[in-house]
Symmetry: C2
Subunit: 143 residues, 2 copies
């Protein structure tokens, strides 16, 4: 069967709206605190995790939710702002290695309290613990 039932359509609509509401809230909180958008945080988080070895753009892209063409300009902006460095790659002349700078690490640390508080407002505070884990479990099946 390929037709969704009404419950499925309702769930779909709510998925769109709930995510939109939650994301708007988080982006708004970041902006009001004078921070860059969420996508910058994601970049900095992955680069921070990668440590001294850094990450290649394609590796970063695979960890994030971006198409191949979306990553270049995002990296440009974050680099231009001084939060990451593009370093020539020794063993592969096609690419670069991306590394987070000290300023980038500091920015990420400053963003986290704002971000985490906004997550709590948008999700944690509205659901019980049981609902949070049930939601998490069900959503994982959609990936």
């Amino acid at each position: 069967m390929s037709e969704p039932n009404d419950q499925t359509v309702t769930a779909w609509v709510r998925l769109l709206r709930a995510q939109h509401a939650a994301l708007s809230g988080v982006e708004k909180a970041l902006k009001e605190a004078g921070h860059p958008p969420l996508s910058w945080y994601d970049v900095l988080l992955e680069l921070d995790r990668a440590g001294d070895e850094g990450l290649r753009p394609f590796a970063l892209q695979s960890k994030m939710l971006l198409p191949q063409y979306g990553i270049s300009r995002l990296i440009d902006r974050v680099e231009k702002a001084g939060y990451l460095e593009r370093i020539a790659c020794d063993d592969d002349q096609r690419g670069h290695v991306l590394k987070i700078t000290t300023a980038g690490k500091a920015l990420r640390r400053r963003m986290w309290p704002v971000y985490s508080h906004a997550i709590q407002d948008a999700v944690g505070a509205k659901l019980t613990r049981e609902e949070v884990s049930e939601l998490s479990k069900i959503l994982s099946k959609l990936l």
Copy 2:
């Protein structure tokens, strides 16, 4: 308490990713069928529901997930394509009434099978009936 626990952060990340994955799939299906994007469907659906009386732009906006400035140009595009009409408003000279055209109704009818099939692929086929209603119930609390 304003700090989210780990489960909440995980649920947040999965909400972003699941919605992104599902929405990408739906938009891709519409595009491959030669149809306009989902936002057009939403406009046509609301105008179709509103019937002969039509809808004011601000009323349409409140039913959709758009900021006030986003609706004007969306309406422009849909109108230009001939799927809705802007009609001068009798009792309020500031605004217009939007009405769906015959072509608009036909487009909506043609889009629905593609859209609904994509919803089923993205959500319905991946979850049990119980999970769908549980998901729907939990997401409604986030709105």
